[in-house]
Symmetry: C2
Subunit: 219 residues, 2 copies
């Protein structure tokens, strides 16, 4: 049987997984809100973020408390510090979903996404969702291999991000400056979301192996 | 006389201050590069960022090492964890200066900033520089009062950010989509830079007082 201390460490992992579940739901709804100009959905995403922030604060409190009471060493110490960093990344990913929802809300009842960009934005949203889903599995299963896979998703996101700019900056673009500004920001939010997912996965790899991913792939 | 452990704690603070000095220099040069379309200066900023990343990695190593060896409690524990978080914020601020420098480089020999936006961008750059300079003082002197002041600078940055969009989206805008995209991204970089400065200052307040700024201002 595990002692209370190790149960509390497991509890941290559960809370991180719960954050990924909430962020995934937020991102999925934010993308739909953006593509369908759905005001109700954007409001939902914006108000649900409080819950993510609350779990982040709880994790911070638990980490400080466990560190002070248990004086952990080596592996457990690494687990606590990386949990804190993952929590900050996930909290930020929640914020980015909110930013996307706010972009949708700002242009409502119009859509912020012109027709020729709908497919790219949809695909960026799908990759973002896949990445946060994988992040949850990586944390729950301490799955180093899947953690390293997230780099490929990030590359796919970067390619779509470039495609977005190609369309925006093509001579055929006829929507003017305002939609271009919205899409530039939304593209940036997706790209940062992917960066944070990679960062969380890197921290899982570090937590489990004690090595940074670069040392594993290219020692 | 202080013991070795407390000398190492002081060393962390020195390294954080050194990071603020490097980031301040990077931001100052990035803004000049952006306004003057100065390619050499942008290259300098881009290559100098390695130094900031190196100090961040050193701080992380020292924090893990001190935690494992010294099993710090209460105040010292808080100092170590907040040092780690500040280091991450400062590292990210260095990246944002690099992003601004890259915007300048991408448009060279043209300027990425149309004439009617030069004044606003210059002012955003000055506020960014002032904020990172203050951040350095706040860390060096553990100055809670100045730390709380950074919120006002952040508000000034937000006002300029809105002004930037007002100009971009005005019917008088005649520069088309490409400069609008550049300026949208640059504006976002400045705004995030300011957010990170506030976050560092908040962590200093927390380190010194054990309270989050919101609890001090609005207990």
């Amino acid at each position: 049987m595990r002692d209370l201390y190790h149960e509390e460490l497991d509890g941290l992992s559960d809370k991180l997984v719960e954050m990924t579940r909430l962020v995934r739901s937020a991102m999925a709804r934010a993308v739909t809100a953006l593509l369908d100009a759905d005001l109700r959905l954007s409001e939902e995403v914006i108000s649900a973020d409080e819950h993510v922030n609350k779990i982040d604060a709880e994790i911070e409190e638990t980490v400080f408390d466990l560190m002070a009471r248990q004086q952990p060493v080596a592996g457990d110490l690494r687990t606590l510090i990386t949990a804190l960093q993952m929590s900050k990344d996930l909290e930020r990913m929640g914020d980015l979903a909110v930013h996307i929802a706010k972009t949708a809300r700002r242009r409502h009842p119009d859509s912020a996404v012109p027709p020729e960009l709908q497919a790219v934005v949809l695909e960026m949203g799908q990759i973002a969702e896949r990445m946060i889903a994988k992040t949850g599995s990586v944390i729950a299963a301490r799955d180093v291999e899947m953690g390293l896979e997230l780099d490929e998703d990030d590359n796919a996101m970067d390619r779509l991000h470039r495609k977005l700019f190609d369309i925006l900056l093509s001579p055929k673009w006829k929507h003017g400056v305002e939609p271009a500004v919205d899409i530039t920001l939304a593209g940036r939010y997706f790209e940062r979301f992917a960066d944070h997912a990679v960062h969380v996965a890197e921290n899982v790899v570090y937590m489990v192996t004690g090595q940074r991913p670069a040392e594993i792939i290219d020692p």
